[in-house]
Amino acid sequence: MLHFSIPKITMIFAVILASIFYSLPNMLPRDIVKQLPSWWQPMNLGLDLRGGSYLLLEVDTSAIEKEQLADLEEVTRSSLREAKIGYRTIRAADQGVYLTINNASDLDAARAAIAPNTVGMTMDVQAEDRVHILIPERLQRERQIAAVSQSLEIVRRRIDEFGTTEPSIQRQGADRIIVELPGVENPERVKTLLGQTAKMNFHMLEPNASGSDPRNLPAGTMLLQGAGDLAGQTFVVRRRVEVSGERLVDSQPSFQDGLPIVNFRFDTAGGRRFGQVTSANVGNQLAIVLDNKVISAPRLESAIVGGSGMIRGGFTVEKAQDLALLLRAGALPAPLVVLEERSVGPGLGADSIAAGATAAFVGGGLVIVFMIIAYHTFGLFAVFGQIFHMLTLFAFLSLVGGTLTLPGIAGVILSLGIAVDANVLIYERMREEFRSGRTLLNSLTSGFQNAFATIFDSNLTTFIAAAILYFLGTGPVRGFAVTLAVGIATSMFSAVMITRMQVWMWYRTGKRTTLPV
């Protein structure tokens, strides 16, 4: 049983060499690592070690629901207007819109007019002149799914434009987005960028209306607050969107008269429409509305043809850059809320690596010294097994592109202490068998044989705990689960194969008649 065949020994040495090879990049300086091929790279460092920000965002789906209702209300109104059917009220409620028309005889005509714009919705006739148009749950869900996908895309574009290295943007669950930004120490600006929906539309101001009483507005207008250098003012803005921000194709920060401005350019249709609107409204004020706030209200001195224009909003350089970026990347379909944020500065990350390394060297060193004092030669075998265990652990994590976190380092250190358990079980068993009068070879063999089942069972339970931690944990704690689980596997292999091989070689290379312990 103790015997090792030549192919087996060759295989073990191959594993050892491969482990050294794959764990090597972890010990090389950074500028050399950069030139290595992608399959020969060190472990990834978690954000807590390399410094960076983690943001968990949620798409505000209630805003999408509201918007969906508002859209339905609007489409109902315009279809009836087009079909010239008079109505008394249109009211959004109960996941749909209540419509009451003037003449009950128009009911069928009204339903026919609305039908093309409400595909998939149910129309519930509640009285001769009253209909409830209901948005079924399926449509709501579809819209939410689409909104989350679109948000993901917009977030990705905004962050790409922002220019951080190796950002990671992933979807989590139904309506969440995880953004990881290595090297970004203070994510305030990123959060500001992601926190705006950045819906920009061009409206016209209602001329000669300067009311501030929302109840006393001309028909078809709304009262909006100003922002930027218009903050504190209110504007009476026509509801009608003259040109939508979706028509923008480019936008860049620039300067005019030494002041930061934002240049923008429409696509062909948008440019044509903008030309028409501006030529029909010369002398009136345009309202550039961003997220329901007027950021600029220039008076049109002439028609703006050619499809481009600029916004002068009293910006700072940074604000102009950010607005241009937001307009380029496009609007979010719904606001994003930051649910969780974790940022680590590079200073602390480096300190954590140093602390982890110190703890590992001290902990590992103490275990090594103790094992050698306790078991002499056999202790040394265990130590070689330990070194092999560390090498395979690092090699495996490097090979699969695993991520090392601070709790992960704790897992590695802990596995150093737990790993010798296998050796201790084996050696104690050998001592017991030898004392009970068996021959040396018998004791060695049954030490490995009897201890194996115990080692396997006892390690598997810790493995189960680690697996559960992996599936239910997040971020750094997951890193702990990974190193613990992988560490258990490699330590078992090293105790069962590496230590056994050494014991066998020791037995073969001399006239051994007694245990060294």
């Binding site: 930051v338 954590s352 982890g356 275990v367 002499h376 601070l406 704790a410 705990a465 680690a466 559960i468």
Partner: protein, 317 residues
């Protein structure tokens, strides 16, 4: 120099079964105190579960805490707790309670604190957890512990007989409860890494139970006539050298972690240290004597169809 193990007694003569009532009382006290503390004092939940803001900052010079404290407490973001750590007097930990007003309100409070600290500080770590995530993390943490205990018990049940599974499970539960109890009693910061520690302790505790139970099972096969109490004693004493050695090596690594691992891992290391001691001896304290009461019949073991590895020592070829 001789290997020090030469000086370790070959045969321990510890009468575990005979002195079991001492262990019962001790275990009962630990559990009652733990449960009592958990029920009355609860936990000092860290940011992961309670939500709020945690910031670690380093100042350019030694910090005068009193003015900083009053300044941050005037921001209207609730009671801000500031503590120093390390030995330079320049490192502080700032803790802001969870803000009323949902997830968006946390970010607003963070901005206020950051602006108030100003230029003189290097912000080394910022963690913001909103109410939604905090509630979810509590659930997933509790679920993780419950699932781990169940999964481990099922595994032990599959590999051993139900009496062993129950014993291991009781030992495991006592470890989990007393570890939680320590965190509650001393109001230590309880966060996600604590849950990780508790799960590791759970795995380690059962690890130990299995080593002892494996030996009991082997002894049952070997000494068919030996009375159960005597057999349990013999089993425990046979594995005791191994237990002591393993505890010691793990202890060495945990102490290294505690001393050198830094502020972030402190709670984890303390939990591990405690769990190491209770976890190791729970298998002997609780797991062993339980077998006495559970109608452990030799037939179950000897005629059992449970899949096992071959435990009988075969002579070598």
């Amino acid at each position: 120099m001789q290997p020090i193990l030469r000086y370790m007694p070959h045969e321990f003569q510890w009468d575990v079964v005979g002195t079991r009532f001492i262990w019962y009382v001790l275990t009962a006290i630990l559990i009652v105190v733990s449960m009592g503390s958990i029920a009355t004092r609860g936990f000092n939940f860290g940011i992961d579960f309670a939500g709020g803001i945690l910031m670690e900052a380093r100042a350019e010079r030694v910090i005068d805490l009193a003015p900083l404290r009053s300044e941050l407490n005037e921001l209207g973001v609730g009671e801000v707790a500031i503590t120093t750590f390390g030995d330079t007097g320049r490192d502080i930990m700032i803790r802001v309670p969870q803000q009323a007003g949902g997830d968006a309100a946390q970010g607003v409070a963070l901005k206020k604190v950051q602006e108030s600290l100003g230029e003189g500080y290097e912000i080394r770590r910022t963690e913001v957890v909103g109410p939604k995530v905090g509630a979810e993390l509590i659930i997933s943490g509790a679920l993780a512990v419950a699932l781990a205990v169940t999964a481990i018990a099922v595994y032990v049940w599959f590999r051993f007989e139900w009496q062993f599974a129950l014993g291991a499970c009781l030992a495991l539960c006592s470890d989990v409860i007393t570890t939680l109890g320590v965190f509650s009693l001393f109001q230590m910061n309880f966060d996600l890494t604590t849950v990780a520690a508790v799960l590791t302790i759970a795995g380690y505790s059962v690890n130990d139970s299995i080593v002892v139970y494996d030996r009991v099972r082997e002894m049952l096969r070997k000494f068919k006539k030996m009375p159960l109490p005597e057999l349990l004693n013999l089993s425990v004493n046979r594995v005791l050298p191994r237990t002591l050695l393993t505890v010691f090596t793990v202890f060495l690594t945990v102490v290294a972690l505690l001393v050198f691992g830094g502020e972030t891992l402190r709670g984890f290391s303390i939990a591990m240290l405690w769990g190491l001691f209770v976890g190791t001896f729970s298998s002997i304290r609780v797991g062993m004597p339980v077998l006495l009461y559970l109608d452990l019949r030799r037939d179950d073991i000897l005629g059992g169809v449970t899949p096992t590895f071959d435990h009988k020592a075969k002579p070598a070829e």
